[in-house]
Amino acid sequence: MKRPQLERPALLEARAIQRLYGPGKGCEEIDFTLHQGEVLGIVGESGSGKSTLLRVLSGLEAPDRGQVVYHAGEAGSVGGSPGKDEALDLYAISEARRRALLRMEWGLVHQNPRDGLRLGVSAGANVGERLMALGQRHYGELRAAGQDWMGRVELDPARIDDAPQTFSGGMQQRLQIARTLVTQPRLVFMDEPTGGLDVSVQARLLDMLRTLTRELGLSVILVTHDLAVARLLAHRLMVMRRGRVVEAGLTDQILDDPQHPYTQLLVSSVLTP
Amino acid sequence: MYVAVKGGEKAIANAHRWMADRRRGARDQRELEVSQVQQQLGLAVDRVMAEASLYDPELAALALKQASGDTVEAVFLLRAYRTTLPRLAETLPVDTGAMRIERRISATFKDVPGGQVLGPTYDYTHRLLDFMLLAGVEVETDTPAPQGAEEGLEACPQILDCLNHEGLIEREEDDGSEPYDITRDPPDFPVDRATRLQMLARGDEGYLLALGYSTQRGYGRNHPFAGEIRQGAVEVEIEVEGFDGPVCVGEIAMSECQMINQFAGSGDTAPQFTRGYGLAFGRNERKTMAMALVDRALRAEELGEPIQSPAQQAEFVLAHADSVEASGFVSHLKLPHYVDFQSELELIRRLRREHAERTAATAEAVSDTQAASARPAPGDGDKADPEKTQAKNVQENVR
């Protein structure tokens, strides 16, 4: 009997990943699968290895051992032929292809917006850059897209010609998100997207992120130390401690009924919203 | 009526005659002899040889004379000559350990095998102008000849090798690979250390000095100690077919500086001292010290140090070190740029015209609004005037 497909197709797989700088520093024995349209939260304290893991997953730093497998293959994907799933071993493909993936199919939202923005050029040029990299050559359309996306991240579209330096930290983060999402990437990595912002600014940004991920059906790997952020955005969670995953599962399950003592400690130390 | 500028040829010829006249100076003075430059302005000659990367004191002196003492120009003259020379042979690496020492000091050990040898140096002189020199009093009539100047001292061991025996300092290994030749091949960044050292060796002394200095002031700090500085003559050897051993073809004076720097070690390696290295033709002590500082700073990446300062950025440091390249490109701004400038003129006029049109249009729009709206409230200052505020907004939006 043919069974209905319960799980959505896999997009990214981590297979026995290890990247250590010293004993307990870095990450090891990481295995998981991210499915399309899923938001996976990686939580843990600073030093737990979650940022190292994110760098490995997003193609920025090769692991000592293990594989990161990306399932390319949709129409328009730089990975492979249309409609056919092709599993790419991220660190076995050429640098050219890896960089092309980063540029065209993936997006990376840095904790510090200044790392993700081109500070010397206007907000509009920042939003338009990825489109131009994909070959968009119509100034009017680039501008329209810029204004549209500034509106979607709740920035005043009239400020399209202003430099990012004139924006507040929260606005810069919105701009970075707009710049990343404008090409509708298949996979988005976010590194503490609300870190370093005031609590009130954080709340609005989170709300906006939640709306956007839902509307666009984004696949996201989100790294955060903030369980409230994880609860709002992530479908599933992985809890990391000293470079290893100590617990993984559905977000509500983990936060409402933590099994591992470390997770219990983490959960009990924050006020539930 | 405009007459096109002609006569470049005549102008150039005249400029050259004029410069030659300037160089010669007043005719009632004796013409400076090249041999005098070579003998009495030896440090200038050495600097020119080092940065031109050609060991020829006579031609370096000639270049200095021809350039009216302009070091950068003299380096250029000698470099341009150097490039036309055939390459007859490649020498073996010079052995500075076998140097006939004339000066050799260490700041790390009070006494060292072979001893500290001060040699000829301006260190410890009081920087007082010597008016005897102005009066032209000959030295040898008043003062005895210096000791040790005749024979030179025997070869003595490299001080850093002593640390080497204990494993306290990183070992430098010759992996036998053919070094890159910066005089033949274009730089291909990132470059290896051998290439880097070549580029630094012919780099401008003032530039290296400033960069080396910056590392001491915290921009890429690397805790240097002057492990050993030595000057003296080394043999230049080549291999000749038909002879068993290498054949010495002459001696050249060289300066070498080995810096000892701290390094904390990493997970895998025990703490060890690291090295910075400087080497130059002739008596170029300042240059070699600066070079050693910069060399060590440029090893930041290799040693896993954060790259945060100018002196640690290899492409930045190396691409701008050559005075021949730098002075050429800066001076080319003197060449005519009529065409490019014309393009910019045309654009800026157009932009200004458009700006004026926009401003005029805005002003018109504003005066229309003003006419249509009620009179401003009596007694209100500029600040409270809503129309003016609006006009300002409109202008800002246009911009």
Partner: protein
Amino acid sequence: MNTAIDSGYNFAYLDEQTKRMIRRALLKAVAIPGYQVPFGGREMPMPYGWGTGGMQLTASVLGADDTLKVIDQGADDTTNAVSIRAFFERVAGVETTTATAQASVIQTRHRIPEKTLRADQILIFQVPIPEPLRFIEPSEEETRVMHALEEYGVMHVKLYEDIAHHGHIATTYAYPVKVDGRYVMDPSPIPKFDNPKLHMSEALMLFGAGREKRLYAIPPHTRVESLDFEDHPFEIQAWDEPCAICGATDSYLDEVIIDDQGARMFVCSDTDYCNSRSEEKA
């Protein structure tokens, strides 16, 4: 006919080994249009930045029966053009000319002659900074990767900014082009007025950057497109008046200030073009 050669130097100054090395690099450049080929540039007896790259290329392709023309800013009689021409007269003894049509090799700084070039002519450009991405990305290591991966989006970011702030693309010279649909290339600081002459040219175009030790080429009949936007297409400069000397309306004009009140006139930057038109009229 090497009679005019100063003794002590090889024909056209460079030794044959070096010339061969440069010619090999040139062949590679022709095979990969617009790609910057590193070459072992030599010191020349002229300062870097004054045309040493162009001179090395000229020296490498020059034969005894060639006729050489040298222009700077379009003119044969500007000081640097005079100096370079005199250099090759001295070290190669070749014939020189100021007439574009009679030259087989033309070395130029910042202009392309107005008269259309033929298949039997070579145009050699002096290039100060060969890397079109340099002012966006200062690292050579990074720009090489960007070329390799065709990561050129950032070039349009610059053009976008121009339009956003000025309403126009504000690049007027050294206007970047895409060669044969692949490499983005700096055409050297020629005014953008000259860019269309690069496209499908009959003549071989060679570019030499001495200080940066790079050379590149546009072979004959190669597509050369100036970067632009669909709704802000590339356009060239135009003048409201013709050349004050020859009356040309189709040439690049230099502005000449003729009195201290700021009065000015416009004349052809290409002196040979202007002279030959004036002579025809006379």
